[in-house]
Amino acid sequence: MNPLERYAPLVEDRTAFFAACKRPLPSVVRVNTINATPERAKQALDEEGVGYETVDWNPHILRLDERGPGTSWPYFHGWLHGQEEVSALPAIALDPQPGERIWDSCAAPGSKTTQLSAMMDDTGIVVGNDNNLGRLSALRHNAERLGVTNLAVTKQDGRNFSLKPFGFEAFDRAIVDAPCSCEGTIRKNPDTLEQWTLEHVHSVAAIQKGILSRAIQATRPGGTVVYSTCTFAPEENEAVVDHVLETEDCDIATFDCPLESVRGVTEWEDETYDSRVEQTHRIYPHLNDTGGFYCAKLEVTA
């Protein structure tokens, strides 16, 4: 079975959904404001004759006309970073401030992590964690290339992450961009559906619950936690948020989603979820011509 069929009943415009899933993604870059202003990055692209268009919802994100970002001077200088448009969303929802302490629980390969650093003017501390050494090396390489100096890299299981090395008690904010079934990346990785199984959905959902619970526990009262995935599976999205609303000291926080989105679902197969998950965001590929995505913002209450 095509797993996309499983989620089609959730989507209003089924034809547009399937058509968008078949199209390749536009080539998108984020301006790394640690090293350059958007004006300078654009001037460099102009000098090189690379066409681009700034997206209408964020001044730092550019859609390139043709080639990938890896072969231009501004990319070489770490002024640009290839990052899918929709994947810029969780950092924007988190809204980290300069000087804060941030935990990125599943950081590699680091597009979101380095975006957090840039939003914080490369001050404070971003603890970028991942449990895979190979992926951590990609994170380290990207952070160096982008001139990030506020990143501390750890290799721990996010579900029982320890702050001990750092000598402080809690983070101001945390981001859980969780490992998931990834159907939302179908436009980038067409084979992603071949590996899809329902067993994996259930096993990865258990991991997601573990990491998100730890993120809430490791964040100070009044702090913010953002949960995101690139799957359409309610088991990995609303069900995970429903679980922590029940078991952890947190509440849903609203945010203005700068991309067109639809509300989280409260019913799926035999399950019903806390009505507050309606205030989380589902993004389907046809809504903004991006990948598929899910994003929830939580406030830590105690």
């Binding site: 090293n35 001037q43 001077w73 070489f76 490369d122 290339r145 100096t149 506020n150 990143l151 090395p165």
Partner: protein, 178 residues
Amino acid sequence: MSDSETDLKSNVGQQFGRLPATPADRTVEGRVSRQEVLEFFDERFGIDSSVFEPYTFWEKGKGKIWIFAEDAPTPIRIEGLGMTVLRTRQEHWKPTHSAVQRFGHHANKNVIKLSADEAAHFAQGNDQELPAWDGDWGYLIATHELAGDWVPVGVGLYLYDELRSTVPKGNQEALSVL
């Protein structure tokens, strides 16, 4: 060797240790001090020490110096802390490619300006004859003109009329001649 020298601990490769403020504060054998790092960047490249004022400096692995935007407990056993900035255990200290890309625009000494053609060669990792340079030998910051300013391309090693590119393999790129 004096008694105090033999008391120094040896460097532990798997952890980050904060650099001592001055050579007199040293507790780990062979570890350079913050003061010496700041003097190096000032004396070699004219980068004013105030540029580095907000940062802390760390060693992990022999002579591999990292720069971090915050402070942290020392020693700290994690995978990464900020960005690599300098290698100090050879006779001539070498700034890293990432350090020069990040902080090289503050330099006003030992900076070699490359033409569009030379910059493209350099970014690809190629060595080239540049006899016109009449400044110091050793590590230089190579720059080219982009978006209205001179921008660091990387670290070059200048010896016998030749500029060797030290752009790391993973960063080398075949780029257009602007």
